[in-house]
């Protein structure tokens, strides 16, 4: 009992200091955002782009003396923060939906710019199944709709003639948290399979009718590893760095390209069509794209057109999409942006500050 007042006193002191610290850091950041030369940039969003971002941060700071602070809080969080303008830029693996644009434009127009390119790959663990198992978009959609339930299903056997397939039950694994990989994967499946589109749809979080949800890439890969017969999807870089076994997925040319930077680059090269708001989907590839990886995806930066930090943002994004910024890509399993996208990006960057 006699200890209590002392404890309370200490707690009170700690609180007073904490409040004071919050107060002073708050005022610091508000004075810091007053524009001027080389003021720091603050961004938040996509975890996919985070490894690339950390390279950009240090290199860009040494070249331009502008520091960039980035919080890898997830694409949805990035969209939320740029909508409320608590950051200077947001980053998202999924392009903004029309409603999200409307909300974000409420405080002045925003621009969405594709600035990195990667892929999402299926990974599987089936004892007795061949390495480099071949799958198609329709089969993947059937698995995630719960229509194809065992590994010796005729649809899978047809793609793997001569291979011996076990009768193991298929356990589809998906991301239970919001993820750019879920967006890329469902965007692809919705493009190839109308039933998937109407039943599940495309988003960073969807409602799968069957399967097991796991948290983050690590959770998905652990769930796959622990379950014979499991298939899931993870980021390309994660799958390559952890050497997961990946099935090959058929592209529109009827080929089964090895997932990697090269085949993702081939997919990006094959698509010239840049949609409104610079939205680019790589799910619907032309049949001429022989070596194109079918589940490739852009990730975007979202910036307000009217901002006190227009100069800094222009410099940073120009750097990121330029040869220096994109040069860090291949080591981290990102493909370089194709020319037509860089050109479109440059046009978009020109609009910043002229809102």
């Amino acid at each position: 009992m006699s200890k209590r007042p002392l404890g309370a006193l200490l707690a009170a002191l700690a609180l007073v200091f904490a409040v004071a610290a919050c107060g002073s850091s708050g005022s610091d950041s508000s004075t810091g955002s007053g524009g001027g030369a080389n003021s720091p940039l603050v961004g938040a969003g996509s975890t996919l782009v985070a490894p690339l971002m950390s390279k950009w941060q240090s290199d860009f700071a040494s070249k331009s003396e502008i520091t960039v602070t980035y919080g890898a809080i997830g694409s949805g969080g990035g969209i939320d923060q740029i909508t409320s303008r608590t950051v200077d830029f947001g980053a998202s693996d999924a392009p903004l939906t029309p409603e999200q644009f409307e909300e974000a434009n409420a405080e002045g127009e925003v621009e969405q710019i594709p600035w990195a390119l990667s892929g999402t790959v299926p990974a599987y663990n089936v004892q007795g199944a061949p390495e480099d198992l071949k799958l198609s978009g329709e089969v993947l959609a059937g698995i995630y709709l719960g229509k194809i339930t065992s590994w010796d299903d005729p649809a899978i056997a047809k793609l793997n003639p001569g291979a011996s397939l076990p009768g193991t039950k298929i356990t589809p694994v998906y991301r239970s948290d919001g993820s750019g990989d879920t967006y890329a994967f469902t965007n692809y499946l919705s493009t190839v399979d109308p039933e998937f589109k109407s039943q599940v749809g495309t988003s960073t979080q969807v409602k799968f009718p069957t399967g097991v949800g796991a948290e983050k890439n690590d959770g998905v890969s652990a769930a796959i590893g622990q379950t014979d017969g499991a298939i899931g999807y993870v980021g390309l870089a994660y799958a390559l760095q952890n050497e997961l076994s990946m099935p090959l997925v058929e592209n529109s040319a009827g080929n089964f390209p090895e997932p990697g930077v090269k085949s993702v680059e081939a997919a990006a090269d094959a698509v010239d069509k840049i949609g409104p708001n610079n939205e680019i989907s790589l799910a619907d590839l032309p049949a001429s794209a022989d070596g194109a990886y079918p589940i490739s995806t852009y990730t975007y930066v979202i910036v307000p057109l009217e901002t006190e930090k227009a100069e800094e943002l222009k410099k940073f994004i120009t750097y990121a999409i330029g040869p220096a910024g994109q040069g860090y890509g291949p080591d981290l399993d990102f493909a370089p942006l194709p020319k037509q996208v860089v050109a479109a990006d440059k046009k978009a960057i020109g609009k910043i500050g002229n809102g």
């Binding site: 007073v16 969080g77 039950k169 239970s176 948290d177 979080q205 399967g211």
Partner: protein, 328 residues
Amino acid sequence: MEASALSHPVLRARRNLTDRLGDPLLRGLSGLAAAVALAAIAGIVYEVVHLAGPAISEFGLGFVTNNDWNPVSKRFGAAPFLYGTAVTSLIAIVLATPLSIAISIYLTELAPRRIRRPVATLVDMLAAIPTVILGLWGILVLGPFMRDTIEPALNSVLGFLPIFGGDPSAFGYLTAALILTIMATPIITSVTREVFETVPGDLKEASYALGATRWEMVRQVVLPYSRSGIVGATILGLGRAIGEAIAVAQVIGGASLINASLFHTGGTMAAQIASQFQNSAGLQKASLAYLGLILLIFAVVVNVIARVIVQRGKLRDIDVTPTEAEAL
């Protein structure tokens, strides 16, 4: 009391400056700390209600019974998660309570005095395992064990019940419930142990003197005497189970559905908030906050019930003890 003694002017004058400042300063600072705690609670409630606003006006009370959670069609309902929270925490409590009572009886009545403290400390330390570690253990060890051993056994014996039907799975309600059992056990154990220790020695000795065996003594003296404490401890454990998010999110398999089978994947309110909040926006974020509001109400109700029971038990014990002693 001290203050009134010092109110005598001569005594007060003798005190030096720091001593005179000390008391008001202490009162001010500790009062401020109490105010901060109250303000934090008020702020949290306000913020959750404010965040949930769009979902409350969109779905109203129908949110509670709606069985759909679909970010694509923007229809959100709490039913799958209410079900998941209820099922997993009830199973956890049903398993953890007898286990905890047994541990406490062993530690207070049966164990050699030398090992009581170390074992009690180890049980308490179970509560100190970071939940994310427990969740990982759930994914890597407990889940596969459930799928390969426990669930097939349950299925072969009780498979005619829908809750034990269907294919065994490493991820699902049952795995999550067992993780929650492990989390609730140290809490229930530490409270029941302390309650058991307060059972007066004379009562126990009186029971032995009447020829009771050890088990009869425990059943007729320790357990009745501690009834309210046990109930209170159970409800504290229930509060823990209802609120746990991370470890459950890791092992329950994050499905927004109600599955009849306990082997299958589902979701709980806390796990759903933990796994989806960060990456959500708009109506989904509001719906998650609405889930949070329901969870907050749950937690408050559970805590109030626990307090009332424990408090009433304390009063009752004071009144009843002599009669019970007489009865023996």
